[in-house]
């Protein structure tokens, strides 16, 4: 098996594991939400990190988008 395939399987397995871990504890209640108030549980807590990532991937890959980087610059190199 090629090295890239091994890495691919590893990443997908870890992602699946994380998704399953999340779903396993799914039990919607409305009372206790302390973890949800942590910044890590917000989708907008990583502004600069996301912007740096978007700029790098916009310049090096072909499928960035949807994150408002349309005007992110030339990305020519």
């Amino acid at each position: 098996m090629r090295r890239s395939n091994v890495i691919t399987c590893f990443v997908l397995a870890l992602t699946l594991l994380a998704l399953l871990a999340g779903c396993a504890s799914s039990n919607s209640q409305i009372c206790v939400r302390d973890p949800l108030e942590r910044p890590e549980m917000r989708f907008d807590d990583t502004a600069h990190r996301d912007l740096f990532d978007d700029h790098v991937y916009f310049s090096k890959e072909a499928t960035s988008g949807g994150q408002g980087v349309g005007g992110g610059g030339c990305g020519c190199n």
């Binding site: 039990n27 409305i30 790098v56 090096k60 994150q67």
Partner: protein, 427 residues
């Protein structure tokens, strides 16, 4: 089972809604925030870039949230031009300036004449118009030596009652103008073709070109449990205008029955379609279990250029309280090539309608691995450091390769190191 003391339902709903719409609960800590970050990006023997960013979020007396962001980045170095390697040293013309350089045998030609700086300014204003409903609008300006961009954006996020779900819709419109260093090249023209010069021997530039970009996204965020938050989304990207890269070319090589098979004879400027419609669907989940935060995301992209991609992202954050938090993360990316992506053209064959040898439109896999360390330096200030490695590996011998070209790597592998530092200050 009651885990902790219960809070009033209204307070709990306010917190949940704040999480979903991304605004701080009224009276919460950190009404204002500044963030300063620096990125150093370095490819081995190629591009080096430094990017600095400063942003400020200030809660106005009216309750509106004002956001300002300044960005600077500068880059230098070499970038693959799209040309094929040769079995002997070849003299190539830089697409970014017309000067000539000698490329050693077997190496993929690069244009080492890149040096650019970019300044960008973003401003936004967000307002809570009713309980659970936020709207925001923003402007974007950016300028670099050969590129300008002006944009407007708007979004609305609405909490859907007590269903613990929120809906987000955002739209951005950008008008970009590109004015290449040596003028807009004629598509399919040879890089060595005669060009008009003024009385001082300078190239007469062929003006500039524009493109319009519209991004629209819709997302649904839902609290699945007190420890699990999920978001699904769809985005549509529409671009029209000059989408060709003026600095990319494609080699014309001798055919298999030629005198010197596979040898480049000239390089032509590429040509891409003047419209592109891209779509993406994504699913993101954040969890908090046993003291560990996890972020996992999957995204699928497809467009009318024939490009598809899969992206998977996983991060785990371990909070060690006073001594900080550590966050290893991994991103995997796979991309299939565009319909008009080709490594080279054959001498004597008819020119296609569109063609590009840009490796970014080719088939490849990319892996980003890294680790972040975050530590509070005061009750209001948090420092973060991130080190990442990015590598791209493509098809070294694509299906079109033949004869002597099979001995070369036709994909310019990429390895980069990224170092990020940032400070967030609440006040």
């Amino acid at each position: 089972m009651q885990l902790k003391k219960l809070r009033p339902i209204g307070e709990a709903l306010t917190a949940v809604t704040a999480v979903l719409v991304g605004s701080s609960p009224a009276g919460g800590a950190g009404l204002n925030q500044s963030e300063t970050s620096l990125l150093i990006y370095s490819e081995s023997n190629r591009v080096r870039a430094t990017e600095a960013m400063f942003s400020l979020e200030k809660r106005m007396q009216s309750g509106d949230l004002l956001g300002l962001r300044f960005t600077y980045d500068g880059l230098t170095g070499a970038s693959p031009t799209g040309e094929s390697p040769s079995k002997r040293a070849q003299t190539v013309t830089r697409p970014s300036g017309g000067s000539r350089t000698v490329v050693p045998a077997g190496e993929i030609p690069t244009d080492d004449g890149f040096a650019d700086t970019r300044f960008a300014l973003d401003a936004s204003l967000s307002r809570t118009v009713s309980f659970g409903t936020d709207i925001s609008g923003g402007i974007h300006l950016s300028r670099e030596h050969d590129y300008k961009s002006v944009g407007l954006s708007g979004s609305i996020t609405k909490g859907l009652d007590s269903t613990m779900t929120s809906l987000g819709i955002s739209v951005s419109i950008n008008r970009d103008a590109i004015k290449p260093i040596d003028g807009v090249p004629t598509e399919f023209a040879s890089t060595t073709a005669e060009v008009e010069e003024d009385e001082y021997g300078r190239r007469i530039t062929n003006g500039g070109r524009n493109k319009n970009v519209v991004d629209a996204a819709i997302s649904l965020t839902r609290v699945l449990s007190p420890r699990v938050l999920a978001r699904i989304g769809y985005s549509l990207d529409y671009a029209a205008g000059y989408l060709t890269d003026p600095y990319k070319v494609i080699s014309v090589v001798q055919p298999a029955d030629g005198e010197d098979p596979g040898e480049p004879v000239e390089a032509l400027f590429e040509k891409r379609p003047d419209r592109r419609i891209g779509n993406a669907v994504s699913c993101e989940i954040r969890t908090y279990t046993l003291g560990l935060f996890t972020e996992s995301e999957y995204r699928f992209f497809w467009d009318d250029w024939g490009v598809t991609s899969h992206t998977a992202y996983l991060a785990i954050k371990l909070d060690m309280h006073e001594i900080g938090a550590i966050r290893p993360h991994l991103r995997w990316y796979h991309q299939n090539r565009a319909d008009f992506s080709r490594p080279f053209l054959l001498q004597g064959e008819p020119l296609p309608e569109y063609v590009s040898a840009d490796s970014r439109l080719a088939k490849f896999d990319a892996i980003t691995s890294g680790v972040s360390y975050m530590v509070p330096t005061s009750p209001q200030t948090k420092l973060s450091l991130t080190l990442e490695w990015y590598s791209q590996r493509g098809d070294r011998s694509p299906p079109e390769a033949f004869g002597p070209l099979l001995a070369f790597s036709l994909f310019p592998d990429l390895d980069a190191v990224m170092l990020r530092a940032g400070i967030i200050h609440d006040f």
